[in-house]
Amino acid sequence: MGSASMIVLIISAIVFAVGGILVSKLLFKKHNSVVKGEAYECGVPTVGKSWVQFNVGYYLFALIFLIFDVELVFLYPWAVVAKSVGWLALVEIIIFMFILFVGFLYAHKKGALKWM
């Protein structure tokens, strides 16, 4: 089917999701009340907004992830040809991974991987 299948799948996903929501909208009766619209936090009145600054630990992991994800993208084309190129490919990727691993150890030593 080729790349057209992507468009077909996106359209059918939208039809499925939006169609489902619309059909259910026809079926249920809407009852509005002030209490119903509140955020559900186990019945306790909400304190403050939720859109606030968040624990930096998550962002540190996101940053390290970025480094390794880019590495992974570089590895994909390498993986396809590694068998035909032979030992040279292995040596090159060991050097590449070694440099990354030193960076990883540095991040580890600095405590970026420690939670809180």
């Binding site: 996903a13 939006v18 489902g20 939720s50 992991f61 590694a82 068998k83 490919a89």
Partner: protein
């Protein structure tokens, strides 16, 4: 002998004879779209029922048994209930993003169906970067989770979304590296090439130790990426009520639920394709007679059998391992799985170059 591949070819031929090429193509698109939607619906119904029955038998109880024979229609009843429930949008939420998030979850799950080889010659799009496509699209799913958690304006949702973002993003690395170990052995990213390379035996068996390590890390990473127990921190019921979909109700909740189950199916299908041979029957090297007997079982049965075996494995994990804490979870990935899978990739490369695999 008839097969799904032959059926699609004859339907294609008949459509092109009867209608003009453009109209035939349009009809084929409609057929494919309808089949994708119905696969979605059937998967949702079957997997939810399977989950409930498997959990029930693991805890020595019967599970759903009222609606229909042996409770077979329980999920139909659940679907109707969810359709009739009021879809609530909280007053404080970001309404646009709140409504967009489930649609994106469904789109990313649906797009992943494209490169999966369901049976012999039965694949929507056999693109040359199939494995890369899968890992690219599957990382879109995390956007929908973060979107849902952030737009709900609920602290539980936000915490759940952040946790699940950190978790999915981390485990993507070891999943990718364990997939790459197989790609190195095959030398191609194309799904059909990967399946064809396993004609003499599945990679799990003929790839020696690296393939085994890659399989184990892949299953762990797959469990974490689909937010399944023991890695279900995103919706740890006892601490976060329901995590990122706390505020969702009715059909939009059902869409998230469905996307989660379809993601489990897809991840297991990818695992089955890479390590267990996809639709390829169980073959042993030169045993021609044995291989011929195995060929009589249809390829689609092989594919779905392997996939559902892996799904059963993931459901089994849920009742075997206790839930991890967030720091344990991140330690497991960054301090153990990632270095292991990196060295495993080098080991797999060495074996591939030496030609030690069968």
């Amino acid at each position: 002998m008839w097969s799904l591949g032959n059926i699609t070819h004859s339907i294609d031929g008949w459509l092109n004879q009867t209608f003009s090429p453009a109209l035939a193509l349009l009809i084929e698109f409609v057929i494919v779209g309808t089949m994708a939607i119905s696969l979605f619906a059937v998967l949702g119904l079957v997997l939810v029922f399977m989950e409930r029955k498997v959990s029930a038998y693991m805890q020595i109880r019967v599970g759903p048994n009222r609606v229909g024979p042996k409770g077979m229609f329980q999920t139909f009843a659940d679907t109707i209930k969810l359709l009739l429930k009021e879809g609530l949008t909280p007053t404080g939420s970001d309404k646009f993003l709140f409504n967009l998030a489930p649609v994106i979850a469904i789109i990313s799950a649906m797009l992943l169906l494209a490169p999966i080889a369901f049976a012999k010659d039965f694949q929507m799009w056999d693109l040359n970067i199939g494995v890369l496509y899968v890992s690219a699209i599957s990382s879109v799913a995390v956007i929908s989770i973060l979107m849902a958690g952030w737009s709900s304006n609920n602290k539980y949702s936000l915490l759940g979304a952040m946790r699940s973002g950190a978790q999915i993003v981390s485990y993507e690395l070891s999943a990718g590296l364990s997939i790459l170990a197989i790609v190195v052995l095959v030398g191609s990213l194309k799904m059909s090439d990967i399946v064809a390379s396993q004609e003499t035996g599945w990679w799990l068996f003929k790839g020696h130790i690296p393939a085994l390590i890659a399989f184990v890390t892949f299953i762990i990473a797959a469990t974490a990426e689909t937010n399944r127990a023991p890695f279900d921190l995103a919706e740890a019921e006892s601490e976060l009520t329901a995590g990122f979909h706390t505020e969702y109700s009715g059909m939009r909740f059902a869409l998230f639920f469905l996307a989660e189950y379809v993601n489990i199916f897809i991840v297991c299908a990818i695992g089955a394709t890479l390590f267990l041979g996809g639709w390829m029957p169980f073959h042993i090297g030169q045993w021609t007679a044995f291989n011929h007997v195995m060929d009589f079982i249809p390829s689609s049965l092989w594919f779905f059998g392997k996939t559902f075996f892996l799904i059963f494995l993931i459901m089994w994990f849920r009742w075997t391992f206790p839930r991890l804490r967030i720091d344990q979870l991140l330690n497991l990935e960054w301090k153990y799985l990632l270095p292991i899978s990196m060295f495993n990739l080098l080991l797999a490369t060495a074996i591939a170059i030496m030609g030690w695999h069968f």
